[in-house]
């Protein structure tokens, strides 16, 4: 895969189709690849890396890159293409400035899960024949990719690219039975007290680093309401439980109907808060109340909070939760 | 518990003077009368209206004034707008004094001074000017070059004309950017005016004003043959603590609030160009 991607990057840089390539560059270890822009074939040759640990959704960088001018090649996984479409729908990026190369995805690995298996002192990870060989200072360990697959990939909603100029690898299908709402349903089935305890336990760990917001491809406001001193709600640190709740409720609400469920918020959270469960609640509610809607699937579709039906459900009737 | 410098004093605003359309001078006294604390020329204080914000403002009154402190504030942000809407008798909070002062107690003693200011930039050096007036025998001649956008934008105009211009050994040169009715003084930008005046190279320069003025005036002074060791300026950046801890007002390894705001230009040369 990496070689095919590099070859396409060379070719498109050479023939002038694009003048920059947005991809990943190698890290200090085997699992910490950083998103990077490559400006010529040499940079691609020396720095470009792609493997199962290249998890970042690159679509948000395009907002910044579109302002820099020129044409940029971006490699997008299926789930990233939904974010891309949503950004297009919101006029945050310009389609003609971007050359999208869709890449087939088999699910990303989560290094945290490797470490949770008790594997320490990792010096290298190689993938071959469907097995990861993890080298450590204590010896090599073989693990199955399925055992360390990222949580969001286990509930992958679609292996289909909704937009691309060309594709590397095979096109996949929308996963109908992805079960991504299972946990939401489980929470809904709990009593309010249990739910309250659950969320306090999660949100109280928040350190308000804004990683979830800043990585989110739906959070593209020029100035976030929480950064705006004139909004009356700006806050740098959650002083108490109220502010923790407020930040996460409002952030989830602001992306409601726009969140494509790419799962980046939960991936980057340094405190492992399952933030996607907030977004998925809204997605599930939208589906239940207003009909199935997948943000990013169709960039011309009207967002659910930007339209209405005369016989919409009343707030009082929209139970969902059991006592 | 010992004293804590982050905790301010409450002071009463006893007089508000409209200096220019967007600059007001606030006289602040302790609730029981007198000054809230002593300071040295060029030092700053954190002014605040609780619930609004807190900001670093230079103390424009001279330390020789024993009755009150004065702050001149230009309306430009949320705190300053609030201050401008205030009435006499209202309280604000003040903490300080912060930062390095102009070296009036040692290096400037006996020197001929050239004080260059633009716009509201006269506020921090006004404290030096009045200190020198009150200690006239300790300093040489004083040339003041002060410019603003228009006649109406000259702060302390009354004080300049009535007090500074009449002080022996003081030469005040005023300029405005564009010709204006009722103005028969110099017209032109401060950097050019300084060059025209061709000051004596033995003078020590204290300068404050907008960054663009400082840049070109410094260039002009260098052309005339001044050395960077002769030129002092005073800086301003975003500040929260005022005591070199909150970490935002640094230029390279120097904190403006603690190691400044007064810098000599040869010191600034050591720092990265990030201000």
């Amino acid at each position: 895969m990496q070689e095919m991607m590099k070859n396409r990057a060379y070719a498109l840089l050479e023939n002038g189709t694009v003048d920059r390539v947005l991809g990943w560059t190698r890290g200090e270890f085997a699992y910490d690849m950083t998103p990077a822009v490559f400006r010529n074939a040499d940079e691609v040759k020396n720095g470009f890396v792609y493997n199962d640990f290249c998890a970042a959704n690159l679509s948000k960088y395009l907002v910044k890159e579109c302002r820099a001018g020129g044409k940029i090649l971006v490699f997008l996984k299926p789930c990233d293409t939904y974010s891309f479409n949503q950004l297009l729908a919101e006029h945050r990026i310009k389609r003609d400035m971007i050359y999208v190369v869709g890449i087939e995805c088999f699910g990303k690995a989560d290094v945290e899960k490797i470490k949770e298996m008790g594997i320490e002192g990792i010096t290298g990870i190689t993938a071959k024949d469907g097995i990861y060989t993890v080298s450590t200072i204590y010896g090599d360990k073989a693990i199955k990719p399925a055992d360390v697959m990222a949580e969001r990939c286990l509930a992958c909603k679609s292996k289909k690219h909704v937009v691309y100029d060309e594709l590397i690898g095979n096109e996949g299908e929308v996963v109908e039975d992805c079960n991504r709402f299972d946990m939401v349903a489980k929470l809904e089935a709990m009593t309010p007290d249990e739910r309250y305890e659950f969320w306090r336990g999660e949100l109280s760990r928040c350190i308000r680093c804004n990683a979830c917001r800043n990585i989110c491809p739906a959070c593209t406001c020029e100035q976030c309401i929480f950064d705006n001193p004139n909004s009356g709600v700006s806050q740098k640190a959650a002083v108490n439980s109220f502010e923790e709740n407020m930040f996460h409720i409002i952030r989830a609400f602001h992306v409601a109907g726009r969140c494509t469920d790419c799962g980046e918020c939960s991936r980057v959270c340094p405190q492992n808060i399952p933030l996607h469960l907030l977004n998925r609640k809204f997605i599930k509610d939208v589906n239940t109340f207003y009909g199935d809607y997948q943000a990013g699937e169709d960039p011309t579709a009207k967002p659910p909070l930007g339209k209405y039906e005369k016989n919409d459900i009343e707030p009082g009737e929209a139970g969902g939760a059991k006592e | 518990m010992n004293t804590e410098t982050l905790i301010p004093y409450a002071g009463i605003v006893t007089e508000i003077t409209q200096q220019t359309p967007d600059v007001k001078t606030f006289r602040v006294e302790a609730p029981g009368g007198g000054k809230l604390f002593e300071h040295k020329p060029g030092q700053c204080a954190m002014l605040s209206v609780p619930g609004i914000s807190e900001a670093m403002i230079s103390i424009t009154s001279s330390p020789t004034n024993t009755e009150y402190m004065e702050f001149s504030v230009k309306k430009c942000g949320c705190l300053t707008e609030w201050l401008h809407s205030m009435e006499v008798g209202q309280m604000i909070t003040v903490r300080g004094p912060y930062g390095r002062h102009f070296p009036v107690y040692d290096e400037l003693l006996g020197k001929d001074l050239l004080i260059i200011a633009g716009g509201i930039g006269l506020a921090p050096v006004r404290s030096v000017i009045n200190y020198v007036r009150d200690n006239r025998d300790k300093f040489g001649s004083v040339d003041i070059v002060y410019g603003s956008r228009s006649k109406d934008d000259l702060v302390y105009y009354k004080e300049i004309v009535e007090e500074w211009m009449t002080t022996p050994g003081f030469n005040v040169h005023l300029t405005i950017d564009n010709p204006q009715e009722g103005w028969d003084g110099h017209v032109g930008f401060v950097p050019n005016f300084v060059k025209e005046l061709n000051p004596d190279l033995k003078k020590t320069v204290l300068m404050c004003g907008p960054p663009i003025m400082i840049k070109f005036t410094l260039g002009g002074l260098m052309e005339l043959g001044f050395k960077k060791e002769q030129v002092y300026t005073t800086m301003e950046l975003r500040m929260k603590c005022g005591i070199g801890k909150c970490g935002r007002c640094n230029i390279g390894n120097k904190y403006v609030c603690k190691d400044g705001p007064v810098f000599r230009f040869d010191e600034l040369d050591e720092l990265p160009n990030e201000y």
């Binding site: 309250y196 109220f242 609400f253 207003y290 209405y308 929209a318 939760a321 | -």
Partner: protein
Amino acid sequence: MQDVKEFRPTIVAFCCNWCSYAGADLAGSSRLVYPADVKIIRVPCSCRVNPLFILRAFQRGADGVIMAGCHPGDCHYTSGNYFARRRMTLLFSMLDYLGIERERTRVEWISAAEGAKFAKTMNEFVATVTALGENKRLEDLRCKK
């Protein structure tokens, strides 16, 4: 002996200018009784109510928040209340999902002619919130006296 006070809730009611606020007015001028615990905030349209308003009301000490607007179809601005309805549906569902008592939030459509409905709704809502007790799950301790 500790002074045991009867719990009186603080209720914030966002009322649209054209229908519900007039409804409240009518309730008043008709001498219909509803508890003084209800603090009305007049908004130009129910659509003006940002989810943040609801949260901020709780932060500042509200024990219950109600939004009242024109009946669907009767919005002074044609469709504002339809959008507001979707927003509040999702927000209230989210609050419930976080374990915050569902009964603390309510939406009611009250026309300018429905003074009686206004009084009845407020009486009911105050009773419900009084039964729930103080808002603990969305409180900001700094704002407590």
